[in-house]
């Protein structure tokens, strides 16, 4: 399990990185390497050149930018996990992070890397889709953003074009007084790929009425999917209502089967975990007001 030969370049700036990527269609970005290196080792991936962006200072860091928490692509997952600002502004991501790999991979794995590899059961892309985050992409033409929903296409497939580099993920911050989150996941072992993961975020007004709601499901099909739970808004739904809503909303999911779990299982549990994540989020939001 030794990678095929490649050249290694460590550009000094993101502009230089993009030039390198644009000039060579066999070049790939490497950052934390926690997803890419196993693929290199198995020779599933065989770029001719690795462009290492891990140490570009402008790509590392967590900053609040108005109503957005922008996380630089090379920010390590553990940095986010330990960041008070991120925990406060983005409690859903904070809940999801302990499920990402295990401690040693979070020490090196980056937020941008997880997004760029688009594993359908990865937690960070799920949170990005759930909250309608924007993926910041830099290429020789400049910086642009793309909604997470458009960015993820399928396993390992994203809208990134040759010469593109994911440089940040911009998560919207909900500024409501009462925001609650819920995150559930099931996998064979805790650190394995999720069969199903559900992420929910809810905002309530002072009367306890739902004013904003988001639910995302990962692991079930080719990519994380944001379900339409707008039906929750304006009400104080009980469990039955939530179950019905999630069941209807989940009709859009397409589940895959593999040796670990059947498609039926994924579909059923998507509803179960979706409901639980929402219930937790409601409970959390209600508790948050006290």
């Amino acid at each position: 399990m030794k990678p095929a030969p490649f050249e290694y370049v460590r550009p000094g700036s993101i502009a230089e990185a993009c030039e390198l990527l644009a000039a060579d269609e066999d070049a790939r970005v490497i950052s934390g390497g926690q997803t890419l290196v196993p693929m290199l080792a198995m020779r599933l991936a065989r770029p001719a050149r690795l462009v290492d962006i891990y140490r570009l200072p402008e790509l590392n860091g967590i900053r609040i930018d108005g109503d957005v928490l922008a996380i630089g692509a090379t920010t390590r997952q553990v940095q986010v996990e330990r960041s008070a600002a991120a925990q406060q502004a983005l409690p859903l991501l904070a809940r999801a992070l302990p499920w990402v790999g295990h401690p040693p991979t979070r020490n090196r794995g980056t937020v941008g890397g997880s997004v760029a590899h688009a594993d359908p059961s990865a937690e960070i892309p799920l949170v990005a889709v759930t909250l309608a985050a924007e993926i910041e992409i830099t290429n020789p033409d400049g910086v642009s953003t793309m909604p997470a929903d458009d960015f993820f296409i399928g396993p390992m497939l994203t809208a990134v074009m040759p010469g593109d580099c994911v440089t940040a993920v911009r998560f919207p911050i909900w500024r409501h007084a009462r925001v609650g989150t819920g995150f559930h996941e099931v996998s064979a072992r805790q650190s394995d790929f999720a069969f199903v993961a559900a992420a929910a975020q809810i905002a309530l007004d002072d009367n306890g009425q739902c004013i904003e709601a988001a639910l995302g499901i990962g692991g079930v099909g080719d990519r994380a999917v944001r379900l339409d739970v707008s039906g929750l808004i304006g009400g104080r739904p009980d469990k039955t209502a939530i179950v019905e809503l999630v069941r209807d909303a989940s009709q859009v999911l397409e589940a895959t089967s593999d040796l670990h779990a059947s498609a039926d299982y994924r579909m059923r549990v998507a509803v179960t975990l979706g409901v639980r994540a929402l219930e937790d989020a409601f409970r959390d939001a209600q508790g948050g007001a006290q």
């Binding site: 269609e25 066999d26 790939r28 890419l36 693929m39 198995m42 020779r43 599933l44 991936a45 065989r46 770029p47 590899h117 688009a118 359908p120 296409i153 399928g154 396993p155 390992m156 497939l157 994203t158 990134v160 790929f193 080719d222 895959t256 593999d258 040796l259």
Partner: protein, 154 residues
């Protein structure tokens, strides 16, 4: 592992033109993602070299493509087999062409079998990668005719 594919696409070209294109190695080289060369080994049989690249996944393959049961310009069967470092695969598919408006509706249905490394470690991505590759093929095929159409206007 088994892989089933199927679907239909509308191509902005008359049936006859599409038929000719689909039998033209030059067109196929341009349209098959990663196809580097196609050499005719006997009538309707080609040796192909491919350099596949889908996101981070990539590998080179050598294989053969042959066409059979041709019923010009309506249908034909295509057999594909290949192997490379990532594994081997073979499959057959049937194409049916029928006019649809100004263009042609191309319906395909086939199945394949894949073995080796990708069958073992790439299951999670194979289905979606194959869909993606088929998608790229049709995008390229459509472009062929869009290009020739614009040329025609000029």
């Amino acid at each position: 592992m088994k892989l089933d594919i199927g679907g239909s696409e509308t191509i902005p070209a008359p049936v006859d033109a599409l038929w000719v294109a689909l039998n033209d190695p030059a067109v196929l080289i341009r349209c098959i993602p990663g196809c580097k060369s196609m050499t005719e080994t006997s009538p309707d049989a080609y040796k192909v070299e491919m350099q596949l690249r889908v996101a981070a996944v990539g590998g080179s393959f050598e294989g053969a493509i042959s066409l059979s049961d041709k019923d010009a310009p309506k249908s034909c069967n295509i057999q594909v087999s290949g192997s490379g470092s990532l594994g081997h695969g073979n499959g057959t598919a049937r194409f049916d062409l029928e006019p649809e408006g100004d263009g042609t509706k191309l319906t395909y249905k086939g199945n394949g079998e894949i073995g080796g490394l990708v069958a073992g470690v790439g299951q999670r991505i194979l289905m979606s990668v194959s869909k993606h590759l088929i998608g790229r093929f049709f995008v390229a095929l459509r472009k062929e005719f869009e290009a020739s159409a614009s040329k025609g206007v000029a």
